[in-house]
Symmetry: C2
Subunit: 195 residues, 2 copies
Amino acid sequence: MVERGELLYRTNEPVRTIYAIRTGSVKTYVLTTNGRMQITGFHIPGELLGLGAIAPHNFTTEAMALETTMVCEVPIKVLEAYSRKIPSICQQMLKILSQKIRDNQELMLLLGKKSANERLATFLLSISQRFRRRRYSPTEFNLSMSRNEIGNYLGISEETVCRVFSRFQNEGLLATERRQVQLLDLERLDNIARG
Amino acid sequence: MVERGELLYRTNEPVRTIYAIRTGSVKTYVLTTNGRMQITGFHIPGELLGLGAIAPHNFTTEAMALETTMVCEVPIKVLEAYSRKIPSICQQMLKILSQKIRDNQELMLLLGKKSANERLATFLLSISQRFRRRRYSPTEFNLSMSRNEIGNYLGISEETVCRVFSRFQNEGLLATERRQVQLLDLERLDNIARG
DNA sequence: CGCAGCTTTGAACGGAGTCAAACTAAGTGG
DNA sequence: CCACTTAGTTTGACTCCGTTCAAAGCTGCG
């Protein structure tokens, strides 16, 4: 159980456990030597955290709770014990790391090649799809992260995030009241996201 | 043996073999549905290609030779056979995927948070370090990729790449004649790269 | 030689950043 | 319970970095 703003782990810390999110949400990010931050992911219940650092043995990212969050901690020792008994565990872990690589590739494409409109549309649809998979409403949800955090993640300023939200609202693509969002035209959002 | 411009593999193709580069160089990239491209890495002798796609079983990136390149192909079957005999192979693969995730995190930081100057300085120093590790000169080398490809990788236009090269040359940080580069002040470049 | 591709530089434009200010919601403590 | 504080959101005005468009120069190859 961690409160908003608390860290699950920090950069360079040895990896002792990995985390499964039960409730709440978490952001992960990397830091430059001079303190700049790039958020690399937002994580919701059902997702695993920390596996990406399992081979270097030290965390390369930091994880902070966006709200009160319940996590299930799995000690590395336990994981190793299982993987000796069941070799397919290693296959599973390869699969999870592969998925992470693909997610990162998508984010790089966004950061390197997309406009502000395309970035926010992509972001909202990605949230929508993850909620759909978990049987939450894919069109009406509450964002647990601030405009600032969205902007950081998407590589744009928080003001630009606000402006794009306003534009989308004026064009009837969505309705938003602070962090409450209702997607009104998924198809058109999809067209924008694809560029 | 592949010639400049030839593909080692393409997106969605099933993964039958992975590749070790012997000589030459290769770029890997992801594509959007509408054909935009983001280069995700340049690869030099000694590096492995294709492992990132081992779990989804289909390539998510494409790999193209930047020049005449010799690769050693390792069939997945062989890899699997070994990994049944030697479990530590799986650990090795986890390590390689972890490294790839860290590389991608660094690139995301660059794409999301760095200026054009910082991007090119970071890029040149990264090349420099990789050459140093392979016992090539870390200060004098020949780039195998075009300005256009550098720009695509760094998320800036080819013209901006040219302009930053010119700036750096005027400030005595490096000397460049087309693709031949000589780094003259690693320390100052490092300061720029850190931002 | 002549062409095609790559590189370089200039000029003008524009999207997003920055700075600033008004507004809102949510705490917090008296 | 309410005044006050604080964090977050929104909008406007201006600026600037990097893009785009255009043109000229260079290089290597057929």
